[in-house]
Amino acid sequence: MFLYKPVASREVRYGDLDLWPAKIRTGLWAWLLHRITGLAIILYLLLHIGVISSVLWGGGSFDQLMATLKRPWFAVGELLLVTAVMYHGLNGIRIILFDLGIGVKRQKAMFWGAFLLAAAGFVVAARVFGPLILGH
């Protein structure tokens, strides 16, 4: 399933995976970041459903909770989350292309492409969330 995992390397063999491999190469960074962002996003999704469901206790509790979530530290979290979503999506496109047999030999360049596009997305998102983070 993970075609881009460095199967042949001596440090990491398929099915012999550590939580934190001893030697991390480009493909493994891509894989590790994909995993960490994925876990963060599913955790957020479940919290997101919980937060939205506060409307079931009356419109006032939803409005109040949303006002609380506009505080700077929550905005920092949202900025990081949006960036995580962008990286996960872009690297996901990279994985799907590999599955289709496209670009496997250029996997490193494609990782940096996904990473830099996500970094650019971070800058755009920082301009949007910046005012909230600074409390304006």
């Binding site: 399933m1 995976l17 939580l19 995993r35 994925g38 876990l39 996003i41 599913i42 999704l45 479940l46 459903i49 939205i52 469901s53 409307v55 079931l56 419109g59 939803f62 409005d63 949303m66 979530l69 506009k70 949006v82 979503v85 999506g89 996901g92 496109i93 799907i96 599955d99 755009v124 998102a125 949007v128 969330f129 909230l132």
Partner: protein, 114 residues
């Protein structure tokens, strides 16, 4: 790889492509289309008066839960092994997913009814 895991793999790709489109719309509308959306019941209700947004939100709820929980199951299966662990995790993921979908879908109704 057995037949079930080929289907699981394929659905993970299909939901990934759907998510890029639908989550893209969701994030754009809420954060990037000018000002931050007004996050009050009244503000969200205006958006959910349009059929397309009701469709976007329900699709997002279902597809994101499937993709996220299948992914979580895949991560856990890298550290657990055996047919039994795989089956238990699949059942657990379906239960969590269905409960979260029904609860989330129900929680959207007050916005739609305005």
């Amino acid at each position: 790889m057995n037949r079930a895991s080929v289907w699981g793999w394929l659905w993970q790709r299909i939901t990934a492509v759907v998510l890029i489109l639908v989550l893209g719309v969701h994030l754009y509308v809420l954060h990037f289309s000018g000002e931050h959306a007004v996050l009050t019941v009244a503000g969200v209700s205006i958006r959910l008066r349009t059929l397309i947004y009701i469709f976007v939100d329900y699709t997002l709820l279902a597809v994101a839960l499937y993709h996220g929980l299948y992914g979580l199951r895949s991560v856990l299966l890298d550290y657990l092994s055996g047919e039994r662990a795989a089956r238990t995790l699949a059942v657990a993921a379906w239960i969590v997913g269905l409960v979260a979908f029904v609860y989330g879908a129900y929680a959207l109704l007050p916005f739609i009814q305005g």
